[in-house]
């Protein structure tokens, strides 16, 4: 068994992404699962196993958060497993669903990702203080904005990229998100507004960083036999890859995400994709910060090193361009409930490749889509390639 095109996505659903949801974490899961099941005209009785993705327990303030979320996710008396790779979880969870089915042990799988960041008071950024090495880094009280500002700076310095170049990504994604019904931060915004927004940690500006969000997403996977019975339009998982770099992030060159390339190469090999720039029609790279979309497009081998910002400037990555990037609006526009944000990208590909993305539909007949997420200490890459 190779796993290629043996597992399909047959249903998808999501909640609205928002700053403060009134629903409990379980209720958010339930809502996303309900939407996914309805979209595939299935019930929980049709589900063989459940996979859950959610990032740090500290957000919800619940130890063994996966256990707590299990019944809201439909795992009642079912095989249930929670996996995580920090921010990379959202794209890793469907990979986890893929290996549950590709192993031959299950015919269907429900994949749920949830994050409720607003429970953490006064601001979820505080939860990130506890992700750093407790001896060498935590005493310095670093936060995520600072370390990503370091990485952005390094990226800009290495290739001579300007803030204006990168700001094009924010403009594109926030404008794309206007057409996403679940988006938190879709808005008409100009390059000047992005560049003139508040500096949070140089060179990161407010309009170049995704918001904190609450939300949940779910997809349903099925093997070949079941998928064809469930829907006439299954979206096949052609390739998957994941890769984790060293914990010692200070010891490597932050200009290039080698681990993303490693994950992408695994996925391309499995999918039989030899020329990704030509063969990938839609891409949903992880964009919690504007520069990350560029960084990741390069790691995914979809742009030459240091050249990704030019794609946004030239309109290549616009929804109507040759290689639409984040047609959903991405994390910058739709929002960033960490694990759910990654799965939102996979949902977007599902809708785009089925021609169901309505006002966001990319033109032409896209065949291959790629979604990627990233996380931990700028350390993990997760990649999934799907086709119709």
């Amino acid at each position: 068994m190779s796993g290629k095109d043996e597992v399909a996505i047959v249903g998808a659903g999501m909640t609205k992404f928002m700053r403060r949801a009134k629903e409990t974490p379980k209720e958010l899961c339930f809502e996303a699962v309900r939407a996914a099941l309805d979209s595939a005209e299935m019930t929980l009785d049709d589900i063989d196993c459940v996979i859950h993705g959610t990032a740090p327990d500290a957000f919800d303030g619940i130890h063994m958060k996966g256990e707590y979320l299990s019944d809201g996710s439909g795992a009642f008396k079912k095989p249930y497993m929670r996996g995580y790779v920090g921010g990379g979880t959202g794209v890793f969870s469907p990979i986890q669903g893929w290996y549950h089915i590709a192993s031959g042990q299950f015919e269907t799988a429900l994949v749920v990702c949830e994050e409720k960041m607003s429970s953490f008071q006064p601001h979820p950024q505080g939860a990130f203080l506890t992700i750093f090495d407790n001896m060498t880094e935590r005493p310095l009280k670093p936060n995520l904005l600072w370390i990503f500002a370091l990485e952005m700076n390094r990226y800009m310095q290495t290739y001579g990229i300007t803030i204006e170049d990168i700001a094009h990504v924010s403009v594109k994604n926030k404008n794309n998100a206007i057409k996403h019904p679940a988006a938190q931060l879709g808005k008409e915004i100009t390059l000047e507004e992005v560049v003139n927004s508040e500096v949070l940690a140089w060179p990161v500006h407010r309009e170049m960083v995704s918001p904190t969000s609450d939300g949940a997403c779910a997809v349903i996977l099925a093997n070949k036999k079941r998928a064809k019975k469930i829907t006439p339009k299954p979206i096949w998982i052609s390739g998957v890859g994941w890769n984790l770099d060293t914990s010692y992030w200070t010891n490597r060159d932050l200009a290039y995400p080698q681990y993303v390339e490693n994950a992408a190469r695994l996925a391309y090999k499995m999918a039989g994709i030899k020329e990704p720039k030509k063969q990938i029609n839609i891409v949903e790279p992880y964009d919690p910060f504007a520069y990350k979309e560029c960084h990741h497009l390069e790691g995914l081998l979809l742009a030459d090193k240091g050249k990704a910002p030019q794609l946004a400037i030239d309109g290549v990555t616009q929804r109507t361009g040759n290689m639409p990037s984040c047609p959903s609006g991405g994390l910058l526009g739709v929002g960033n409930p960490i694990a759910a944000a990654g799965l939102m990208k996979v949902c977007e590909l599902f809708w785009q490749l089925r021609g169901e993305a309505e006002a966001r539909q990319v033109p032409g007949k896209p065949k291959y889509g790629l979604a990627q997420a990233w996380g931990d200490l700028m350390q993990v890459g997760t990649v999934i390639i799907v086709r119709n």
């Binding site: 008396k77 920090g86 192993s103």
Partner: protein, 386 residues
């Protein structure tokens, strides 16, 4: 289970209640080196994927998977974390290998519980924040409730529970890994400090530190790497309801259904005759009996008397926790599946020394994730492949 997967290497550190001189990373490194050596791996570069099992709050670090690759040789490799028992990691590695995309996968879990100053407080945070946590009940009280109900429904007795403690702590004398071997009487167990009635102090496993690493491979690689591969014949895992109000208190469904799933894969029709020995969760003494009955090894209410008749002893019909279990060795929390798997491998390889069982062809390991969860996992190991 078709598409066979075997364990070809194991490594572990010596369990101890306190390990102030080493970090968890150093413990994992030691276990990994031993496992790779045991698996005859030419290099850690031959490993295709890595799985670790951990929970953030126990580690004291959010997004703990950040700190997993270096000490295992997993840098820039496919690696991810499962929030589950080590046996969940084994099931994950099996699935990864069965996809055909990975040939050799490493599973790691560890306990550095000596670093945790307020374990009960943390466990309290695993309860429902809206419905249960405000009641401010110590989570071990849920185990006591469970025990009350089990004894009431099954008609097993407190004496039976005490005998589990006596057996496991006695078995532990023959295990060089044990930290809590002890000769006890029923009265001593029942008279030990009452924690949450009817639980007493000696009926609960005490935490220890330790790391476990296992190397799994597909059939082709397994046969090349190790002369005594231990085959994984079935993995079944189930979560019942996390809420206290809606779970199956009488039937222990997480154990029952996970057993049934594993038996199906292993093509085991009668676990009473087809499985030779058992390493079963005994976080609380009554759990060993409850789990044996739920797994179909004994009918409801029959495990206690079987225990008194010596059936669960090493020379009995259903040797259970010959290792000493977590009552005798100590609990590693989510790494406890590692202790069980080590015992499985030693017995099945015929390397268990003074506690080697005469008949050890197929064994069953069962882990439960502890209060307040209802997540359990069964793994069936065998000397012979499918």
């Amino acid at each position: 289970m078709s598409n066979s997967v075997a364990i070809v290497g194991m490594g572990y550190t010596s369990p101890r209640p306190l390990t102030p001189e080493v970090s968890y990373k150093e413990m994992i490194y030691e276990a990994a080196i031993k496992a790779y050596h045991d698996a005859n791996l030419p290099s850690h570069k031959d490993i295709d994927g890595f799985v670790t099992c951990a929970e953030d709050f126990i580690e004291g670090t959010s997004i703990f998977d950040e700190y997993t690759p270096d000490q295992l040789g997993g840098v820039q490799k496919p690696m991810h974390t499962i929030t589950g028992d080590l046996l969940h990691g084994i099931a994950t590695a099996v699935m990864n290998i069965q996809t055909g995309q990975q040939d050799i996968v490493v599973v790691e879990a560890h306990s550095k519980l000596s670093n945790v100053k307020s374990l009960d407080h943390i466990t309290h945070y695993a309860t429902d924040p809206i419905l249960t946590r405000p009641l401010n009940v110590n989570p071990h009280a849920f185990a006591a409730l469970d025990m009350q109900r089990f004894l009431h429904v099954s008609k097993n007795t407190l004496k039976h529970c005490a005998e589990v403690v006596i057996k496991n702590k006695r078995n532990a004398f023959k295990n060089d890994l044990s930290c809590h071997a002890q000769n006890l009487t029923v009265q001593e167990v029942l008279d030990s400090e009452e924690t949450f009635r009817p639980l007493t102090h000696l009926q609960k496993a005490s935490p220890v530190d330790g790391a476990f690493v296992f190397v799994l491979a597909n059939a082709k690689k397994a046969k090349k790497l190790n002369k005594k591969p231990i085959w994984i014949r079935g993995c079944g895992w189930i979560s019942d309801s996390p809420s206290l109000e809606t779970r199956a208190w009488d039937t222990c469904d997480y154990a029952k259904l996970s057993g049934q799933m594993a038996y199906r894969q292993a093509k085991i029709k009668n676990p009473k005759t087809q499985i030779d020995f058992f390493e079963i969760d005994d976080t609380y003494a009554f759990k060993e009996l409850q789990h044996l009955e739920a797994l179909g090894i004994y009918d409801k209410g029959k495990s206690g008397n079987a225990l008194l008749n010596g059936a669960l002893d090493p020379d009995g019909a259903m040797p259970t926790n010959v290792s000493g279990g977590t009552l005798g060795v100590g609990t590693f929390h989510d790494a406890s599946g590692g202790l069980r798997t080590v015992e499985m491998i030693k017995q099945l390889r015929g390397e268990a020394g003074p506690r080697q069982l005469k008949k050890a062809n197929t064994g069953l390991a069962f882990s439960w994730r502890g209060v307040p969860t209802t997540s359990g996992i069964t793994v069936i190991y065998s000397r012979k492949g499918a």
